[in-house]
């Protein structure tokens, strides 16, 4: 017989694994994510009461859904819903025992609907991120606040407002179709990538929940890829995240400073994630059309495939940046990276003339990577004094003390 500690641990784990599905099923029935969340919590409380006594059910999710649906039809809840919803609720909750296979069949659709609702374009990106992590990631408000270096009341407010905004906008709990799908999907992908990048920006010594955001984004991306397997950009985003995440062990030196891609110890790259990333890219490319995520993943894959920095296929990377510039036109950051790739193929002078053309781009004003990139090419051309000037300019613009120190150290090294 399992001890009560073991059962409590199981319930906590089941909650983390199943809460999104449970909320998704309940949101379809109630058409109200806030109410769905409350009902899901009630079912959790019931599990905490019953499982230690009755044992862990064969299908924890089916048990939770059954209990939550039963509660959904109690009188208090009924009052809060429209008649139309009633009928649906009555029909859905009619069977007291859930058919596990039937549940399996529609749970994916429910989850997909919930993802689209949480990432609805009517919400600001910040609100979408908070709601997604809360409903789909099962993170508490307190955890989201810690992950985003924000105050808990501010996040709680953001989530409450987001739910209200969804209700007020009368957002349909449906998977978008046709032309609508593309725009809605790109809103979802944007949210997942924002979560990933927030985790990727974590520094040494940060709370463990920050780098864990990368794993959460990866998990969400993989789930989405399973739900809409015909969308190349979803596989592209998954590939991009898997490949970027594979490099995290090599990204910081023992002192906690950022190590640039070409200087990283590739033996520390995570081969399992690289393999998964390349496989996801393969799935994306097999589907045909190539958007921003697929092309960025393809660029990332060129680095992943090179066992040493010197083996990098720069000609291919230049071609891919050309393609990326088509799907992300007038993006100065893309152009900057393209110029650096051109420098690797046609020499530093070719890259520098590209960078000079970007000098006045408003989006790059205050972007320290531009003078840093120029410095790199000027140094290669032997124009040391100009390179040092650019490094000092970059240092003045750098956001972190570590970047500033690295740039100034490089200038000192050149001057020596």
């Amino acid at each position: 017989m399992a001890t009560s500690d073991t059962v409590a641990a199981t319930i906590r784990a089941v909650w983390k694994l199943e809460s999104a599905k449970l909320i998704a099923v309940l949101a379809r029935i109630t058409r109200d994510v806030g109410l769905a969340e409350e009902l899901a919590q009630d079912a959790l409380v019931a599990a905490l009461e019953r499982w230690p006594r009755d044992g862990i059910p064969d299908s924890p999710i089916a048990w939770l859904v059954t209990v939550a649906k039963r509660r959904a039809i109690n009188a208090t809840v009924r009052e809060r819903m429209l008649d139309r919803k009633h009928e649906e609720l009555g029909r859905d909750a009619g069977a007291s025992e859930i058919d596990v296979d039937a549940l399996d069949d529609h749970i994916g659709d429910d989850l997909l609907r919930l993802i689209f609702v949480a990432c609805h374009p009517t919400l600001s990106p910040e609100a979408r991120v908070a709601l997604t992590l809360r409903l789909l990631g099962g993170l508490t408000t307190e955890e989201i606040a810690r992950a985003f270096l924000a105050q808990e009341p501010a996040i709680a407010q953001r989530i409450v407002r987001a739910k209200r905004a969804l209700a007020e906008a009368g957002v349909e709990f449906e998977v978008p179709r046709g032309a609508d799908l593309e725009a809605r999907l790109s809103s979802v992908l944007e949210v997942i990538y924002l979560v990933f990048n927030e985790g990727y920006a974590a520094n040494a010594g940060d709370d463990a929940i920050r780098p864990a955001l990368c794993e959460e984004a990866l998990r969400l991306g993989r789930v989405l890829a399973g739900l809409v397997p015909g969308e190349p950009e979803v596989h592209g985003l998954v590939a991009l995240m898997e490949l970027h995440a594979s490099r995290t062990p090599a990204r910081l030196d023992p002192a906690g400073n950022v190590v640039l891609l070409l200087d990283q110890n590739r033996a520390r790259w995570d081969q399992l994630l690289i393999r998964r990333g390349l496989a996801a890219l393969g799935r994306a490319e097999a589907l045909g059309s190539r958007g921003r995520y697929v092309v960025q993943a393809a660029i990332s894959a060129c680095h992943a495939r090179a066992h040493a920095a010197a083996d990098t296929d720069w000609a291919r990377i230049v071609a891919l940046y050309g393609e990326l510039a088509q799907v992300m036109p007038n993006n100065p950051v893309v152009e900057l990276n393209r110029a650096m790739a051109i420098a690797m193929v046609d020499g530093p002078a070719a890259g520098l003339s590209r960078l000079d053309a970007l000098a006045d781009a408003p989006a790059l004003r205050g972007y320290h990577w531009l003078p840093a990139a120029r410095a790199d090419l000027l140094a290669k051309l032997g124009r040391t004094s100009e390179a040092c000037d650019q490094l000092e300019r970059a240092a003045a613009l750098a956001g972190s003390e570590a970047d500033r120190a690295r740039l100034l150290a490089r200038a000192a090294e050149l001057r020596a």
Binding site: A9, T10, R12, A13, V14, K16, L17, I56, D58, G108, G199, A202, N203, A204, G205, D206, A208, P211, A212, C214, E215, L218, R219, L220, G221, R222, V223, G226, A245, S246, R247, T248, P249, L252, P254, A255, G256, D270, L272, L273, R276
Partner: protein
């Protein structure tokens, strides 16, 4: 967090078609859930050791071992409790046996303090 789950059984390969189908579904579900990164079977092997600079290979089978490591799974989960829950679900289908759950030094674990 990344964990390595191993499964040790005295009756490897003794799977009914029903068990086998249920395990296949479990693997598919966990792949789709973004949790299962890799999984596979483990066949008997040899033991290697080095003592006083001397490298030695011992052929199997290891008759002293009743239970052989027959399979593994690498999962990405949020904590150890979740990894344990996956082992519970697996064994519920696979049957009696033993296992080990070890955290791997995954790529996204907290950067160490310096």
């Amino acid at each position: 967090m990344r964990f390595l789950l191993t499964y040790h059984s005295s009756a490897p390969g003794d799977l009914s078609p029903e068990k086998s189908a249920a395990l296949q579904k479990l693997v598919e579900d966990n792949m789709k859930a973004g949790i299962l990164l890799d999984t596979g079977g483990i066949l008997p092997g040899v033991k290697v050791a080095q003592k006083n600079g001397e490298f030695a290979v011992t052929d199997g089978p290891f008759t002293e071992t009743k239970e052989l490591v027959v399979g593994y799974a690498i999962v990405q989960v949020r904590d150890r409790e979740e990894a344990i829950e996956h082992a519970r679900r697996f064994m519920k289908i696979a049957g009696d046996g033993a296992g080990e759950i070890r955290q791997l030094a995954g790529p996204l674990d907290v950067p160490p303090h310096h």
